[in-house]
């Protein structure tokens, strides 16, 4: 096990080297003569030591993407580089993986939604499998397996069979197995999607700890926004085979109109009357702990209503969004808004025009429900 890297760069200036890079990754399936494009030119950059989440609905191409990263699926075109090695160049021809590709894969850990543990082997036997593939001697295998079990908190389950474990314990075994080859990169394919919320939290915590203690780079795919919120430093949103937004969580929040940011921090609320100004204020880092709203109120002697707010800790940092209402039209509030921007906050004016469109949209839905 590598020692914990205490000099890990701070998360918000993660200019680290890219560990996983995909360029123009395209995957086209031939489904009974019809071509289905699962990946459509995906460029992904995962920096060393970060937890990178790819989120999207089912069918968005996340699964194909993560399988293309270790070439379990062959991309139709494009390249995949992991830890400086161009895997697409190693692939060789045909279905069979070349020796070089297999060696590279053994340095990439992978955990699965359905754990994929061998029911015919004990927990320890499962963790030893990747070591057997690497040709590690029996004694060393067993030492390493027990060490990894200890790391994931299952030291007492070595002789149990997977069938005797709970879902969360199975995933811990899956994680221990993925770490057996001392990987630099861990791929997580919906690792928590089959688990209940509490177990999900504990597994995410484990991934976070491993990321910090071992300097492990984690690329995870998920359809749960909560997962991204809980552990990701960076995220990408996938839709119909394309990455439509990507960046660190801070960058995404700073992007006006970012869909991921508004999904992560949904704020709602409408102006209480005409001639008022509604703005979304995004806090992060230092600014999150400053009493800016009361400062604004005192400095300009205005009344501020909070229409909606969402605060959370993302990747260990306080981040939040708030929708506030200021009296008077926008033109009269240029100075207070400037004050907020000076404090390092991001301020986006909310167009009130969407209010009337929202209301009629709801009425037919209600009518329909009543008709049932």
């Amino acid at each position: 096990m590598r020692p914990a890297d205490t000099n890990r760069p701070a998360l918000d200036n993660s200019d680290g080297n890219p560990v996983i890079t995909t360029t123009g990754l395209t995957k086209v399936y031939d489904s009974r003569g019809r071509e289905v494009t699962a990946l459509d030119g995906v460029d992904l950059h995962v920096r060393e030591g970060e937890v990178f989440g790819v989120i999207g609905q089912s069918g968005a191409g996340k699964s194909s993407l993560i399988r293309c990263v270790n070439l379990l699926e062959r991309p139709t075109s494009g390249t995949v580089t992991v830890d400086g090695v161009d895997l697409t160049a190693l692939a060789g021809r045909g279905q069979r993986a070349s020796k070089e590709l297999r060696a590279a894969r053994s340095r990439i850990g992978m955990v699965f939604q359905h754990f994929n543990l061998l029911s015919s082997r004990t927990v320890q036997g499962n963790i030893e499998l990747p070591l057997e593939i690497l040709g590690v001697s029996g004694k060393e295998r067993s030492r390493k397996a027990l060490e990894l079990l200890d790391l994931v908190g299952l030291a007492d389950k070595a002789k149990s069979y997977p069938g005797q474990l709970s879902g969360g314990q199975k995933q811990r075994v899956g994680i221990a197995r993925a770490l057996a080859g001392d990987p630099k990169v861990l791929l997580s394919d919906e690792a928590t999607s089959a688990l209940d919320p509490e177990t999900t939290r504990s597994i995410l915590q484990l991934l976070r700890d491993l990321n910090q203690q071992l300097g492990l780079t984690v690329l995870l795919i998920t359809h749960e926004m909560d997962v991204v919120k809980t552990i990701c430093d960076s995220a990408a949103l996938m839709k119909r085979g394309r990455v439509v937004e990507t960046g660190t969580v801070a960058e995404l929040l700073a992007t006006p109109g970012s869909e991921l940011a508004s999904e992560l921090f949904p704020v709602t609320g409408h102006a209480t009357g005409p001639g008022r100004t509604v703005v979304d204020v995004t806090f992060q880092g230092e600014a999150a702990s400053q009493p800016v709203i009361s400062q604004l109120s005192r400095t300009y002697n205005i009344d501020i209503s909070i229409l909606g707010a969402a605060m959370d800790t993302v990747g260990g940092k306080q981040i939040g969004r708030m929708r506030i209402e200021l009296p008077g039209p926008y033109e009269e509030n240029v100075v207070p808004i400037g004050f907020l921007r000076e404090q390092g906050l991001q301020v986006d004016a909310v167009e009130d025009a969407d209010e009337p469109t929202d209301v009629p949209a709801q009425i037919p839905a209600l009518v329909k429900e009543n008709a049932k």
């Binding site: 279905q95 990747p130 690497l134 069938g163």
Partner: protein, 222 residues
Amino acid sequence: MTWSEMQPLLSQGIIDTLYMVLWATIVSVLGGLPLGLLLVLTDKGGLLQNAVVNKVVGVIVNIGRSLPFIVLLIALIPFTTLVVGTFIGPSAMVVPLAIGAIPFFARLVETAVREVDHGLVEAAQAMGGGVPTVVFKVLLPQALPTLISAVTTTVIVLVGYSAMAGAVGGGGLGSVAVNYGYNRFETNFMLITVAVLIVLVTVVQLIGDGAVRLLARRGRTS
């Protein structure tokens, strides 16, 4: 016929049947296991995808499966003579028995191996495992309980086939039943032979089921 007359015939019959079935089972497993694996591995999307090999093996197995055993038995006489030197007696019967059971067992192996969750294969590949790893550390161990059931079924089919072989001079319980029970109207002898066959099949099934249960138990909560 008195018991003292029947007893040695019966003993020899049981020994010959067990001899034929045992050897035919060993050869069928050795032949059918690779064929069954090959059918899965060379199939579309398989690890060794190869349409030509898959088709050829598939056709051979289907031909073997579609021939009635009694026809195969007679058709193989020249081949059996070539291999064993004779086509009469228990040793000679091992050849047609095994050739008859190989395709049968191969199809059972194919089904058993296909049942293994593809996620497990993917996991082994993601660890850097090649085809041998997938076959010997994932597919076969995971399919083991089903494979043992398949062997049990094959043994029972072979007991049936061996009785048919008895009709054409193969020896064993089949010969005893035909020669004495049928041709000489020894009804008692026939009944005893039937009873012995029933016991034989039951014992084989019990042993097979016991082994499967033993293997299956470790997967469950104890």
